[in-house]
C-alpha cells in the first residue's frame, strides 16, 4: 500500500508529473474525438446530400 | 524607375491628402505611450527602466494600424489587378507601396519618438540611437506587414487577423530594437544591435516583396 502511495507521490514531484501526463493524454484524446466527430458529421451530411440528389433524379 | 516613383508619389499624395493614416498612427503612438505612466506609476526610475521597450512596442502597434489598407482600396476598385498585369514586376509594385506606407507612417514615428522618450524618462543622449533603431526597424515592419496585408485580402475580420499573423513575425525586430536602446542607455555601443537591425531590413527587403506578391497573386486568382 505504501508502495502505491509512494508511486503517486513520485518523490514529491507528483503534483508536476501527473498533470503533465494527464493533460497530455486528455488533449490528445480530445483532438482525436473532435477529429472523429468532424469526420462523422461530414460523412453523414454527404450521405444525406447524395440520397437527396439520387431521389430527385 | 519612373513608374516606381509614380506609384510612390501617388500613394504618398493620397496618404497626405486624406491625412488619416499619418495622424491616426501618430495619435495612437502618443496615446499608447502616455498610458504607461498611468498604468505603472509616474516614478522616473521605473519609467526609464521600461521606456525603450514601451516606445518600441507602441511604435510597433501603431505601424500596424495602417497596414490593413495597404492593398485594400486598390484590391476593391480593381486597381491591384491592373498593377499585377502591368509590365513592372509585382514585387516592385509592392516595394513602391511599402515605401509610400513607410514614408507616411514609419518615418513620422521615428521622428516623433524622442518626444515620447522624454515622457518615458529615456536619457536624452540615447535619443539618436532610438531614432536610428526606429529608422532601421520600421521599414522592416512595413515589409513584413505587407506580407500580412496581402494574405488577408478578402478575408473576414481582416484587421484583427492581420495583427495575429504579423505580430509574431515582428518580434525579432522588437528584440533587437529595444536592445539597441537599452545597451546605449547603459553607456555601451549599440553597434551590434543596429547592425542586426540592418541585417533584418536587408532580409526583409529581399524576401518581403516576393512573399507579398505571392500573397497578392493568390488573392487575385
Amino acid at each position: 500500500m505504501s508502495d502505491l502511495a509512494g508511486f503517486f507521490a513520485m518523490g514529491g514531484y507528483g503534483a508536476f508529473i501527473w498533470p503533465s501526463f494527464g493533460i497530455t493524454l486528455a488533449v490528445l484524446v480530445l483532438v482525436w474525438i473532435e477529429s472523429n466527430r468532424r469526420l462523422k458529421r461530414n460523412e453523414r451530411a454527404l450521405a444525406e446530400m447524395e440520397k437527396g440528389l439520387g431521389g430527385r433524379r | 524607375m519612373k513608374p516606381f516613383l509614380a506609384i510612390v508619389r501617388r500613394d504618398v499624395r493620397l496618404a497626405f491628402r486624406q491625412g488619416t493614416d499619418t495622424l491616426m498612427t501618430l495619435a495612437f503612438f502618443v496615446i499608447a505611450v502616455v498610458l504607461f505612466p498611468f498604468g505603472v506609476g509616474p516614478e522616473p526610475n521605473v519609467l526609464a527602466r521600461i521606456g525603450g521597450g514601451v516606445v518600441w512596442v507602441a511604435a510597433l502597434l501603431a505601424s500596424m494600424l495602417a497596414l490593413e489598407r495597404l492593398f485594400q482600396t486598390d484590391y476593391e476598385d480593381g486597381g491591384l489587378e491592373l498593377l499585377a498585369l502591368a509590365p513592372m514586376p509585382l514585387q516592385i509594385v509592392v516595394l513602391a507601396k511599402v515605401l509610400a506606407h513607410w514614408l507616411a507612417t514609419g518615418l513620422p514615428l521615428a521622428v516623433v519618438a524622442p518626444m515620447l522618450g522624454v515622457l518615458m524618462n529615456v536619457p536624452p543622449d540615447v535619443f539618436p540611437v532610438l531614432v536610428a533603431a526606429l529608422l532601421l526597424g520600421t521599414p522592416t515592419l512595413s515589409l513584413i506587414g505587407a506580407i500580412g496585408a496581402g494574405l488577408i485580402l478578402g478575408a473576414r475580420r481582416g484587421g484583427v487577423l492581420l495583427a495575429l499573423l504579423v505580430l509574431p513575425l515582428f518580434i525579432p525586430v522588437l528584440v533587437f530594437g529595444v536592445s539597441a536602446v537599452e545597451v546605449a542607455a547603459q553607456g555601451f555601443s549599440p553597434k551590434a544591435s543596429l547592425l542586426i537591425l540592418g541585417g533584418l531590413l536587408l532580409a526583409a527587403l529581399a524576401l518581403g516583396p516576393w512573399a507579398a506578391a505571392a500573397a497578392i497573386r493568390q488573392a487575385l486568382e
Partner: protein, 245 residues
Amino acid sequence: MKRLDWFANPARFLKVARAVQPWAAGIALGLGAAGLYLGLVASPPDYQQGESVRIMYVHVPAAWMALFCYTMLAMASAVALIWKHPLADLAAKATAPVGAAFTFLALLTGSLWGKPMWGTWWVWDARLTSMLVLFFLYLGYIALNGAFDDPARGAKASAVLALVGFVNVPIIKFSVDWWNTLHQPASVLRAGGPAIHESMLAPLVLMALAFKAYYVWVVLIRIRAEIAAGKIRAARLRATGSAAL
C-alpha cells in the same frame, strides 16, 4: 512526383487511408502503453532531477512533434503552391491543429518541468520564446485558413504564411546552441549521438514513435473529413448550377 500523383485521386487515397489507419492506431496505442509503462514505472529516477525527469517522456516527444508537424505543414504548403496537388491543401489543413496541440503540450509540460527544475514556471530565453512564436504561427495559420468564404483562397493564403513562418523552425532547433539559454542543450539529436542512458532513451523513443503514429492516425481521419467536406461543396455547387439552368 509520380507516386504523389497516384494519390491525387481521392478514392484511391481513401482506400489507402482506411487500410493504414488501424495500423497507425494500433502502433500508437501499443507503443504508447509500453512507453508509459517504461517511463512511469520501469525506468530509474535521474541522479540529479529525481522523479521529475519522467516529465521528459512527454515533454520532449511533444516538442519534437511540434517541429515535425510544422515541417509537414510547410512541405504540404509548398507542394500545394508549386505543384497544386489537390490533397496537399487538405493535408496541411489537417496537420495544423495537431501541431498546435503538440506545441501547447510542449509548452505546458515544459512549464510543469521547469518549476521543480529551475524554480520558475516560465523564462524568456530563446528556446521557450521561439516555441511560443511557433504556437502563434499555428494559431495564425488556422485563423487565416478559416477566414475566407472561399476555402481554396484560405488554403492558398495560409500556405504562403506557413512557408514564411518556416524560418522559425531552425531558430528553435538551434536556439540552445546560438544563445545562452536556461533550457538545456540538445542531448539526443546531436552530433556524437545521444547523451542519455539507454534506460531513459528507450521510453523516450517509444513515446516519440507513439506520438508519430498518433499523428498519422489523426491526420488521416482529418483528411478524410476534409475530402467529405469538399464533396459536399462540389455537390452543392452542382445542385445550384443545375437549378439555375
